[in-house]
């Protein structure tokens, strides 16, 4: 580099003396570049009380308002939770909970009255919650076959090894295979039989429960004594991508029964997968309750979206203040693992459900920062100057 530039200069001006041998005379002198000499321009922050002070105060000043905002937002969210496990003798579901066989043919129903002390605006989300249910268990999480759920015909007949030991039953492939599907909590009642229908709410019928899963029904007890079933939508509760991309029925053929020919239902199920719903857009693998269940929860205490109670119009709250009844078809045994079952009604905000934690966390961290900032300020004033001189003495 040096040599070449030097030569170039020569050619500009005078006759070059050095011949072709010039190259061999090249000095091995290292190049004087900032990089090679490790002199790149750099920002060198020094962490002392004086220099970091502003950072602490700024963080404090930013975090505390954010925290307050979050806290307020979270507090504005209305949430109602009811535990219907029935561990207490007094609980309406106590009787049902005693029967924890997977194979009982008779559904057990219990009715839990409750009171909402404030009206719920906007869409209300109805969740079912489970505690102590380790849906995140390593072997449990793995126990599924995504290609099968994606409608792959080959996988339908030959479930992946991951599904073992829930891949085959009586030499027939299980659809959907795996432990997750097998332990599904909530299923859609199908094949409705004669059940009472309520005047204006025809969307959903209470049927004979053939699936293992619990079914929740919500009724508004009118002050005048009538029991009005709350209309709930069962669609839109799963991720859009799940419903439309990840989960697919083997064919678009409406006749799912034919499609699932040759497979068998999961062992714990009472009905095959193609009988989950009457609506062909919500049946088979693309049944949204099924999809929601298949998205395994992160923590042993979790809730899953069950229904959405859509807002009717802007004038009337979605759920009025008053007495309600929750009718539970109690199928799912949780006593074996000390589990709890809950029903949750909640509105949501932009930051999701009710959770004051984040607001509190922001306020706390902000305050701590502020406090530390003050401490640093004191330190800086007391020791900052003195030390600089002492340092140099060292």
């Amino acid at each position: 580099m040096m040599a070449s530039s030097y030569n170039a200069k020569d050619e500009d001006g005078h006759i070059t003396v050095s011949g072709p041998g010039g190259g061999t005379l090249r000095s091995k002198k290292p190049e004087n570049t900032a990089f090679k000499q490790q002199r790149l321009p750099a920002w060198q922050p020094i962490l002392t009380a004086g220099t970091v002070l502003p950072a602490f105060f700024i963080i404090g000043l930013i975090f505390i308002p954010i925290g307050i905002g979050l806290y307020v937002t979270s507090n504005n969210i209305k949430e109602f939770e009811i535990d219907y496990t029935g561990v207490d003798m007094s609980s309406p579901c106590f009787n049902c909970s005693q029967n924890f066989s997977w194979n009982s043919t008779r559904p057990c129903t219990c009715t839990i009255p409750f009171y909402l002390d404030q009206p719920y605006e906007n869409n209300v989300f109805m969740y079912y919650g489970l505690s102590n249910f380790y849906q995140n268990h390593r072997r449990y999480v793995k126990s599924r076959d995504d290609s099968q759920l994606n409608g792959d015909l080959e996988s339908l007949m030959k479930p992946s090894k991951e599904c073992e030991p829930y891949a085959y039953h009586e030499n027939k492939p299980i659809a959907p295979c795996g432990a997750i599907a097998n332990s599904m909590f909530n299923g859609e009642p199908v094949s409705c039989c004669a059940h009472q229908t309520h005047s204006s709410f025809h969307l959903y019928l209470i049927c004979l429960f053939t699936s293992l899963a619990d079914t929740l029904e919500l009724f508004y007890n009118d002050p005048n004594g009538t029991k009005i079933q709350i209309p709930m939508t069962a669609t839109g509760i799963a991720w859009w991508t799940d419903k439309h991309v990840k989960f697919r029925n083997p064919t678009d053929n409406a006749n799912l029964t034919a499609v699932f020919q040759g497979t068998t239902k999961p062992v714990n199920w009472r009905r095959p997968v193609y009988e989950l719903d009457t609506d062909p857009q919500n049946n088979g693998f693309i049944n949204e309750d099924f999809i929601v269940w298949m998205r395994t929860a992160a923590l042993p205490t979790f809730r899953k979206l069950y229904r959405i109670i859509p807002k009717k119009n802007s004038m009337v709250p979605t759920l009025l203040r008053g007495n309600y009844t929750l009718e539970v078809v109690y199928n799912y045994p949780v006593r074996s693992f000390e589990g709890r079952k809950r029903m949750i009604l909640s509105t949501i905000s932009w930051m999701g459900g009710k959770n004051p934690f984040l607001g509190i966390a922001y306020i706390t961290v902000g305050s701590v920062c502020f406090f530390l900032g003050v401490v640093l300020l004191i330190i800086h004033h007391k020791y900052g100057n003195r030390n600089n001189s002492a340092d140099i003495a060292n």
């Binding site: 061999t24 290292p30 004087n32 009380a49 970091v52 249910f133 097998n182 640093l376 140099i392 060292n394």
Partner: protein, 1427 residues
């Protein structure tokens, strides 16, 4: 070695098979016959076919063997085996945690990166091999009856090769013929040993007197020689002629591969060793691998990581067992059965889980750490290489890192062991003064001249212009272009001769002119001595003219002339002229061979006088051995005694006194000799030889030519005299002297001139007969000379004694006979020759002595002072005599005139023990007081109790690093005493004494002792040692030390070859250690700690999760992130920081050397820091886990939608953590961090969008995309890193203010404007004596200590008992800031010194942060006033 035995084995097998006549001798020797005899025969017949051919292959792999071999090598590393084991474990269904194929990815990645690196290196080797193999050389072909061009790789053992001037030898060749009339061939061995002087090689004696050209077709001898070995200086064997006669072969007959033919038009030889069996290749070792201290420490912590890992796994396993147990028989639905549908007992599950957890937590053992460290080290080496300050313009060489993996050790050195000659000094010997016949000639003018050079040097330093050194060289030779071209050629050619290392070495030396700066050459003669020389020679001229015997010369005059003749001829200097670079100057007067045979001697010296029976019988018996074939034309013959004799008879004119000094010879090639004379160049093997020759030349007694058999000297008035050179007994370190035996042309006496170390020569002086006047005079001379010698030594000069001895013919004959026996002996030749030399060098007559100055290298005192301030103990181990060594030590400020010196000279073990005991008591008694109150005293008096381990908290440091006081004491010990002291029984005491001394000087130590001292200190004190040296005698020391540094100076390259780092100059050590060492250490230490932190933090996240997933080994972090987190997402920033981070600027590090203590005490990476980091990692991971945990508690979040934010948070936290630890933010840091984050999101987005059904079990389809739309995600990203890093950030800030480490102070200094900084730094130098005393000094000022020791050092002005030692550092400080203290009356130094300290202290208490520069200015002003 394996190859050799294989060869031998093969050869043997074939021999046995064919029942040939040769027997098992094959095992020890190699037999070489000419190939051309077998050219027609089939390959099987050729006896040489078993020897390796000349094709070299330095590659490790072939296309086929690469994979298995490389893998095999990589699995030597334990870590690799471990990771492969884990990856394989993943294939077991019961325990697997990830997709098995995916789990292999990191291991495969690491292995393949290493493999690619190996492959590339191997390919480069292959390329260079190919280039070398395809070089051309001339090989004799029987078919064509001439030499034909062939590739090097086609050369076989037994081939005849013709070599021309400046060609490189393709193989080890036995020299059979040379175009040189003396049958010599000169070679340059720079590529082998780095020595640039020419070496003479001789044609095999049997072919010596061949008149005509060598004809390969007539060659039919067989050569028996050693098996290939790597000893460059050894070759033994013999050649068996058809006639049955045997001639011995020596190393002088062998031309080694890689050398370059010089000065010889043509030479022919037979290939003895080829290819890999050549000595050059056998010497060619790869780079060395050492394990650094930091790495050892790191390995301990890796081990701890393993323990932590096992504990975590065990915990999880037990947890899982209990979790299973609590359900009892009621198996919950989520506890999936094993694939076979069987139910596992809790215990079995726990065991399986243990293995699973090992897989899940494997990241804790940092797989990429090892790779990252290697990458960082390579970058560090690159930067050290590129440092301009470590580049020496004069020799065009820069620092070489030969060991790639111990750069960080440079920052942790505690002891430096230095050679003196060539390391501290330049090894440029300059003649200073001499004494002849007891009269001293002081050479004042010469001294003045040298002083001038010194000034010039310092000026040159200030303005280091590009051409700064060129004028010098120009003065050496007016024809600059010619040598340069030649040298550049040689540089180029070196590149092909062998490995890259060889080429590197060669290029370093290519510009190196051997020992010929004008400073060494132009000696100003002492007028008095010059007059005497002139007078003497004119008298001799007169006497010669009048045919008077020379013995009539006054003895003092004859001594003088003898003295200079001895200086001129008693050496091995080769004369060359710059007009024909590297061409020997020839001045042939007559053809004579040196006395090599007894009959030759007889013929020359007798026939009349030497006829004793024994001699004649022996000579006749020798003669009878000889074959009778004469002449050379017919058959190749051995020269017979007769032929030599006839030749001599023919050529030699009748002998007489007047013929010996012939006039200017006829063959003289017409050039004006006198003009050129001044430009003769002397090529000496050692610089002091050259210095003496130049000195003699200044007295017009110049060496003009040297041939093997004669030396030509030009004397004033007398003209050219040629001395017949009978023998040269070369220098060796045991004898410490060399001698030449010549026939004096004037007196015709056989004279022995001996030159050697004074200690040995003085013992060999013939005890003068005090009876007569001559004897008295002799005695006086010896006495006076001894006095002067002592004076010289006190001046730091190297002394040499010159002596002579006149042999009578009988004595000579007697000695010669045994000498010849020794020379021809095949076994134990060296010993016999040694004894023979001892027999000759007795009863000498002392002529005089010389004092040669070995000038200190530039900047040595400063470097030593600054290294010492850096807390390094410097020991000098030298082979020089005590006085010289002590004086050099004073000169380079190793010893201080103010400090006491303990000198240990003992004659016996007991005496030595006693001495050590006494010294120990003395030290204890003397410094008892100081040790009680060291800190305060250290500051106030500058009377230096010097702490090696200052400010290291004793609790944290391990037991052996108890603070140990080093007093202001010097220890001088000589070789003999050292031998006693190094004895097992005394070594502890010796160490106890030595370590309490500030400097230790070991004189007269042998190479072995040097290495023993280093080993002792290293092993007993458990300190990091650095050995620096330049010569072969330092090699063992360099190898023993933790870090060996070689000076690529003038004494060849052995030291460099053995070293880990090679420096062009000693002073570069300062920057290498203080700056690069510090940086490398702190960078690597921080990086390693960060690595541990990072992995622990990441793994702990999963560990916390186990509490919420029934200890089932589940991970919320997607396996892809888990596996590639280390490898990709978080890898680059730490590499950049590890490579580029500078905690303190280079300038500050050099100006405040005690910042180096940081590395010595391992302050960046102490054992507790690992644990602190671990705790911090666990805390941070708790924050990173639980903030998302609570934020998402009891929500409908699914496993991986929850895990992905955690991964992101962890990444942010880890990067920000690095940000806190990064001290220097260049654009590369910013870029790398941005890149890491961008990479993570890009990969995550692509990965999450790629496949809706793959990547079981996480199946993260559209997760990231959804998260990015979720405000909660951003809220989490904002708060979590802040909360996680709050404690560390706060701690750093507090620590930076409340108890900043010296390094942090240095960093603060960096930020100040340059002006203020300079002021502060100059102030801080005042307190050199008390680096980093644990107590802040101003405190002790405020509270006067009642103790007596420092009472006098308070504000009061000096009392009478201020120790005189105080003067030293103060005056030193004055020097350093000359502009302040320029006018200072010397008598008031002391009072000022106290004032100085006082004022400086006051200033210390004033604030001068950057916002208060005015205050500082004021302080400085007041400071100036007070002076």
């Amino acid at each position: 070695m394996a190859r050799e035995s294989e060869d031998a084995g093969m050869a043997k097998a074939s021999k046995v098979k064919r029942q040939k006549k040769k027997k098992t001798k094959e095992n020890k020797t190699r037999t070489v016959q000419a190939n051309i005899l077998y050219d027609n025969a089939k390959g099987e017949e050729n006896p040489n076919r078993h020897y390796a051919n000349n094709k070299i292959k330095t590659t490790k792999y072939t296309v086929l063997s690469f994979l298995p071999k490389n893998l095999f090598e990589q699995f030597h590393r334990f870590a690799n085996v471990y990771f492969v084991f884990i990856a394989l474990l993943n294939f077991v269904p019961v325990v697997n945690a990830f997709q098995p194929e995916l789990a292999l990815a990191p291991v495969v990645f690491i292995l393949s990166v290493t493999a690619i690196k190996d492959l590339w290196e191997d390919y480069r080797r292959h390329r260079s091999d190919k280039e070398i193999n395809h070089m051309d050389c001339l090989v004799y072909s029987r078919v064509e009856r001439r030499y034909v061009e062939k590739y090097w790789k086609e050369v076989r053992v037994g081939d005849f090769i013709r070599l021309r001037c400046n060609e490189i030898l393709p193989a080890d060749v036995l020299l059979l013929s040379s175009s040189d009339p003396d049958r010599l061939c000169h070679i340059e061995t720079a590529t082998l040993d780095g020595e640039t002087n020419l070496k003479q090689r001789q044609v095999v004696r049997s072919f010596f007197d061949l008149d005509c050209d060598f004809d390969p077709l007539k060659y039919n001898s067989v050569i028996e020689c050693e098996k290939p070995n790597n000893d460059l200086n050894r070759f033994r064997g013999y050649i068996i002629h058809r006639s049955g006669r045997r001639d011995a072969l020596y190393k002088e007959n062998l031309l080694l591969r890689g050398c370059t033919i010089r000065n010889t038009e043509e030479a022919v030889g037979i290939v003895i060793y080829a290819g890999h069996e050549t000595k050059a290749m056998l010497n060619n070792n790869g780079p060395r691998y050492k394990r650094s201290k930091l790495e050892r420490q790191m390995n301990v912590d890796v081990f701890w990581c393993v323990i932590i890992l096992l504990v975590m796994c065990l915990f999880a396993a037990v947890g899982h067992g209990l979790w299973m147990f609590q359900y009892g028989d009621k198996r919950p639905v989520f506890d999936v059965l094993s694939p076979e549908g069987t139910d596992l007992s809790p215990i079995m599950s726990a065991i399986y889980l243990f293995l699973t957890m090992i897989i899940v937590f494997q990241v804790l053992i940092p797989i990429s750490l090892f790779v990252s460290i290697e990458i960082v080290k390579i970058c560090q080496v690159y930067f050290i290489h590129q440092d301009m300050d470590l580049y020496d313009e004069e020799t065009d060489s820069h620092l070489q890192c030969r060991a790639l993996n111990i750069t960080e050790d440079l920052g942790q050195m505690q002891y430096i062991f230095s050679d003196k000659t060539g390391t501290l000094t330049e090894n440029k010997m300059v003649f200073r003064r001499c004494t002849v016949a007891g009269v001293e000639y002081s050479h004042d003018a010469n001294a003045r001249r040298l002083a001038m050079y010194q000034e010039m040097d310092s000026e040159e330093e200030e303005c280091t212009s590009h051409g700064g050194t060129l004028p010098r060289r120009d003065s050496v030779t007016s024809h600059q272009s010619a040598p340069v071209v030649l040298r550049s050629q040689s540089t180029k050619s070196h590149r092909r001769t062998g490995s890259r290392a060889e080429a590197k070495r060669a290029s370093i030396l290519s510009k190196h002119t051997a020992f010929s700066s004008p400073m060494e050459k132009d000696i100003t003669p002492d007028p008095q001595l010059l007059d005497k020389v002139n007078e003497c020679s004119s008298q001799m001229d007169f006497m010669r003219f009048h045919s008077q015997p020379m013995s009539q010369l006054p003895s003092d005059l004859s001594d003088i002339i003898d003295f200079f003749i001895a200086l001129t001829i008693c050496n091995t200097v080769v004369v060359s002229s710059p007009n024909q670079p590297r061409q020997k100057v020839r001045m042939r007067f007559e053809l004579k061979s040196p006395v090599k045979t007894i009959e030759d001697f007889i013929k020359r010296f007798t026939p009349s006088r030497l006829t004793s029976g024994s001699n004649s019988s022996s000579s006749s018996s020798l003669i009878t051995n000889r074959s009778s074939n004469k002449g050379c034309s017919s058959m190749l013959s051995s020269p017979s005694a007769e032929s030599t004799l006839t030749k001599l008879d023919e050529e030699r004119p009748p002998r007489g006194l007047d013929h010996a000094f012939s006039p200017v010879p006829p063959c003289y090639d017409g050039k004006a000799w006198d003009k050129e004379e001044g430009e003769l160049r002397y090529e000496a093997e050692s610089p002091d030889e050259a210095a003496l020759v130049y000195a003699a030349r200044a007295y017009k007694c110049s060496l003009v030519g040297r041939l093997p058999d004669q030396v030509t000297v030009e004397l004033p008035h007398l003209g050219k005299l040629s001395f017949e050179l009978l023998h040269t007994l070369g220098f060796d370190s045991t004898r410490k002297r060399m001698s030449v035996v010549v026939r004096h042309p004037l007196t015709d006496q056989i004279t022995v001139y001996t030159k050697g170390a004074d200690s040995v020569i003085m013992d060999l002086i013939k005890p003068p007969n005090t009876g007569n006047s001559k004897g008295k005079r002799q005695k006086k001379i010896v006495y006076r000379t001894q006095n002067y010698l002592n004076l010289y030594a006190a001046d730091g000069l190297r002394t040499l004694c010159i002596a002579k001895k006149i042999l009578s013919k009988d004595e000579y004959a007697c000695w010669l006979q045994r000498h010849l026996e020794a020379e021809t002996a095949i076994q134990g030749r060296e010993e016999l020759l040694f004894e023979s030399a001892l027999r000759l060098e007795t009863n000498l007559q002392l002529l005089g002595a010389t004092g040669i100055e070995d000038r200190l290298q530039d900047g040595v005192p400063e470097t030593i002072a600054s290294l010492r301030k850096a807390g390094l103990q410097i020991w000098v181990l030298t082979g020089d005599k005590q006085e010289t060594a002590v004086n050099i030590a004073y000169a380079c400020k190793l010893l201080d005139p103010e400090e006491e010196i303990l000198t240990l000279n003992a004659d016996s073990q007991e005496a030595c023990a006693l001495l050590l005991e006494e010294s120990l008591h003395y030290i204890q008694a003397k410094f008892l007081c100081s040790s009680t109150d060291q800190a305060a005293k250290a500051f106030h008096t500058n009377f230096a109790p010097f702490e090696i381990y200052p400010s290291s908290s004793p609790s944290s440091s391990s037991s052996h690093t108890v603070p140990f006081m080093v007093h202001r004491l010097g220890l001088v010990i000589d070789g003999r005493t050292l031998a006693y002291a190094l004895d097992k029984s005394l070594e502890d005491k010796f160490l106890a004494v030595a370590r309490s001394c500030r400097s230790v000087l070991c004189c007269r130590s042998t190479p072995l002792q040097k290495s023993m001292v280093v080993k002792l200190v290293r092993n007993k004190l458990k300190v990091m040692t650095l050995a620096i040296g330049d010569g072969a005698n330092d090699v063992s020391m360099i190898q023993v030390a933790d870090v060996g540094v070689g000076i690529s100076g003038q004494e060849g390259m052995q030291a460099v070859m053995a070293s880990d780092f090679a420096l062009p100059r000693f002073r570069y050590l300062q920057k290498l250690l203080l700056v690069h060492g510090h940086w490398c250490y702190s960078r690597l230490a921080n990086m390693i700690l960060y690595f541990f932190y990072k992995n622990a933090m990441f793994v702990a996240l999963i560990f916390w999760y186990q509490f919420y997933c029934g200890f089932s080994g589940s991970a919320m972090i997607d396996q892809w992130y888990l596996i590639f987190f280390n490898l990709m997402f978080s890898a680059f920033p730490q590499l950049i920081t590890g490579t580029l981070d500078k905690d303190v600027s280079a300038e500050t590090l050099q100006q405040l050397p005690h910042l180096y203590v940081n590395g010595q005490n391992s302050e960046e990476y102490k054992p507790y820091m690992f644990w602190m980091n671990m705790i911090d990692a666990f805390y941070q991971s708790l924050v990173c886990f639980f903030i998302p945990y609570f934020a998402y508690a009891d929500s409908d979040v699914d496993l991986f939608t929850w895990g992905t934010p955690i991964t992101t948070l962890a990444l942010f936290t880890i990067l920000l953590h690095l940000g806190i630890e990064t001290k220097t933010w260049t654009w590369m840091n910013w870029l790398s961090i941005t890149f890491s984050i961008a990479l993570f999101f890009t990969v995550a987005l692509c990965y999450n969008a790629s496949c809706p059904t793959c990547y079981s079990p996480s199946n993260p389809y559209w997760t990231m995309q959804r998260l990015l739309q979720d405000p909660l995600f951003y809220l989490l990203c904002a708060i979590t890193p802040v909360a996680a890093l709050l404690p560390r950030y706060f701690y750093r800030a507090c620590q930076g203010t409340l108890f900043p480490s010296p390094v942090q102070v240095g960093r603060q200094l960096d930020k100040l404007p340059t002006e203020i900084r300079r002021n502060i730094l100059s102030l801080s130098r005042v307190k050199v004596g008390s680096p980093l005393s644990p107590k802040p000094p101003f405190l002790s000022l405020a509270k006067p200590s009642p103790k007596g020791c420092n009472k006098k050092d308070q504000r009061s002005f000096p009392s009478s008992n201020t120790p005189p030692a105080k003067k030293g550092p103060v005056s030193q400080a004055d020097e350093e800031k000359g502009q302040r203290s320029q006018v200072q009356p010397s008598d008031s130094v002391r009072s000022h010194s106290d004032l100085y300290t006082l004022v400086a202290t006051e200033i210390d208490t004033l604030p001068y942060t950057k916002d208060a520069p005015t205050t500082l200015g004021g302080a400085t002003a007041s400071f100036n006033q007070s002076l």
